[in-house]
């Protein structure tokens, strides 16, 4: 069975395969030259059809206008160009595959063969030789008999990753006076007196604009400027909020005394689990549901988690109105928004 002396031989070499000791029934193509010829024609035919389909795809791409439609019985109206391209290219590649398999099944050798596997273990004399070479090296180098060399070498090797770790830690260096990465994760561009504007329309909001049961996706008024100055969307990713209004009698608790205003509450829009933006708010239950992993927050009860994998409540933004009556933030969020991070504690 196993051929130990040929253990280093190339896999698939001729000698590794032996005709299997099973009854062999020759195929029709093996005994009838006409059947073999027919199979050959079929394979060639499939390849030719494939070539034809692929040419049809090129022609279809040139001929069929982009906006032409066609009505299919089950799928309804679909684009004619997409349909033609998909069908012709798909059928072309399919015919190449069918031809290849047909070729292998009908014309390539049909005899059953056995490919032998080799034992993984090296022969005993090779193993003994290797161990002897290792021990000779150990003795010759003096690795065991000169401990000072051994220890300094190990010490040097242990320190090899150290510069990399230091550089990794300093991948980001805050500019002079700028907040550290931890501080950046802990703060947003909300601050005292920053006006709340609705998303897209960017309208400042008054208390009476938001009906009971209402929901508004909103952001800080200075977001545009900050984004242009920073050249990225980091500020938006942290500062996005939703405003909801409920009957004040339905509010069980808030994260801070006087953080809401006549039933209007502002919460971060970023899920505290892994940071999906969420606005899936049910106005009757006051539940805010994250569609990513079904974390559910009760906005009438301090934004506490009532279901799902989120470990922290949804941070609430303290709000009030300015002298013109527009809704503004009292301050920044009092806890970091979004998912937890290492240094958050």
């Amino acid at each position: 069975m196993s051929d130990i002396t040929k253990a280093t031989g190339t896999p698939g070499a001729e000698a590794d395969f032996a005709t299997a000791d099973v009854p062999h029934h020759p195929r029709r193509t093996d005994v009838d030259p006409r059947a073999a010829k027919r199979a050959e024609r079929q394979v060639a035919g499939l390849f030719s059809v494939a070539a034809l389909f692929l040419l049809v795809a090129v022609v279809a791409y040139v001929v069929i206008p982009v906006d032409a439609g066609v009505n299919l019985p089950l799928a309804g109206p679909v684009g004619a160009l997409n349909l033609a391209l998909g069908l012709s290219m798909g059928l072309g590649i399919l015919c190449i595959g069918l031809g290849a398999i047909h070729w292998a099944r009908k014309l390539m050798p049909g005899t059953e063969v056995v490919g032998s596997r080799h034992e993984m273990r090296s022969p005993d004399e090779e193993r003994a030789e290797a161990i002897a070479a290792f021990e000779r090296g150990l003795a010759d180098s003096g690795f065991a008999s000169r401990p000072i060399i051994r220890r300094t070498l190990l010490g040097a090797l242990v320190l090899v990753p150290l510069p990399l770790v230091v550089m990794l830690r300093d991948l980001y260096t805050a500019p002079e006076g700028a907040p550290s990465p931890v501080e950046q994760l802990s703060m947003t561009i909300w601050g005292e007196g920053v006006r709340i504007v609705s998303d897209v329309a960017e309208r400042p909001l008054k208390l009476e604009d938001i009906p009971v049961g209402g929901l508004v996706a909103a952001s800080p008024e200075n977001l545009q400027e900050v984004e242009e100055a920073e050249g990225n969307l980091n500020a938006r990713a942290k500062a996005a909020i939703i405003l909801v209004r409920m009957d004040p009698s339905e509010i069980v608790s808030q994260q801070g005394e006087g953080w809401g205003l006549e039933g209007v509450l502002a919460f971060s829009k970023i899920c505290t689990h892994v940071g999906c933006p969420i606005a899936l708010y049910e106005q009757r239950t006051h539940h805010l549901l994250c569609p990513c992993h079904q974390s559910t927050f009760d906005l009438a009860d301090s934004g506490n988690v009532v279901f799902g994998p989120a470990a922290r409540r949804m941070p609430q933004l303290p709000i009030t109105v300015d002298e013109e009556g527009f809704l503004v933030a009292q301050s920044d969020f009092q806890e970091p928004v979004g998912p937890s991070f290492w240094e958050r504690g």
């Binding site: 195929r27 799928a75 109206p77 679909v78 909001l205 049961g213 209402g214 049910e282 239950t285």
Partner: protein, 263 residues
């Protein structure tokens, strides 16, 4: 079986008689209905319309919502919900409720437009609330489709799905598909916040914003699928399930064909 007595008592006779009686009643009812709508067509919320609405309310709604629309243990108060809310709930068939379930479902309306307007006028006469949007408010000829899409994705897509096909909420509730919604229904829904939908009043989404959104949903409703099967536009769930079942079946068939013994 061939006796005259047996023939007279054919089992179908009673059924036919009942059907005949029902047909007569239905025809008479339809006639009364048509003459009724001819009388009040296009009339503003007149005293008679409020009266008609009140009698319809007492017949069909009061058992749950209370004799004075004050609400009961099983149904909310309707005082101050406005005509728009009544029109939305009844015109989409959600009210009257077929059974006390988690969420009212869209079904064929049980009342005609004139009756719905009468009930809406009655409820609006109890206390002020959002009015049924005017034709001018529903006019989307100058709407900005791209802005509507942006507003839709900001305010609606989190529940109604990016393609407006609807999606699940918590505990068996769901945001319905918008594919059958008329502009008026969408406007009214935003204005009144039916069931668990938040209210998007004119202070947060102006009439113009609502028109843009409605135009965008209209565009989604009319959209053809250039790629063929959309599989419901529900995202990876249906697409993955389809690919897994159909793909695995195809692969298995191919493996069987490749491995089949040849003669």
């Amino acid at each position: 079986m061939n006796t005259p007595v047996a023939r007279r008592r054919h089992p179908a006779a009673l059924l036919l008689l009942l059907l005949g009686a029902l047909a007569v009643i239905a025809t008479a009812y339809a006639l009364v209905q048509t003459s009724g709508s001819a009388r009040a067509a296009g009339a503003p919320a007149s005293e008679t319309q409020v009266d008609q609405g009140k009698s319809l309310y007492l017949e069909g709604c009061a058992s749950c919502h209370g004799l004075n629309a004050e609400g009961t243990a099983v149904a909310p108060s309707l005082i101050g919900v406005g005509a728009a809310s009544v029109h939305f709930q009844v015109a989409t068939g959600r009210m009257p409720l077929a059974a006390p379930v988690v969420q009212a479902e869209r079904k064929a309306p049980q009342y005609d437009e004139e009756q719905i307007l009468a009930m809406a006028a009655y409820i609006a006469s109890l206390a002020p609330g959002p009015a049924i949007p005017t034709a001018e408010q529903l006019d989307t000829t100058n709407a900005d489709l791209a802005r509507g899409g942006e507003l839709f994705r900001t305010n609606c897509a989190q529940c109604h799905n990016f393609a407006g096909k609807g999606a699940a909420l918590t505990q068996g509730k769901y945001a319905p598909s918008l594919m059958e919604s008329t502009p008026q229904e969408m406007y009214e829904a935003m204005l009144t916040g039916p069931q668990n939908m938040p209210v998007f009043g004119d202070g947060t989404l102006t009439t113009e914003d609502k028109q843009d959104i409605i135009a965008y949903i209209g565009h989604l409703q009319d959209q053809t699928q250039p790629g063929g099967f959309s599989l419901g536009s529900f995202g990876p769930v249906t697409e993955g399930a389809f690919l897994f079942t159909a793909g695995v079946a195809l692969l298995a068939a191919a493996a069987i064909w490749i491995g089949a013994k040849l003669r």
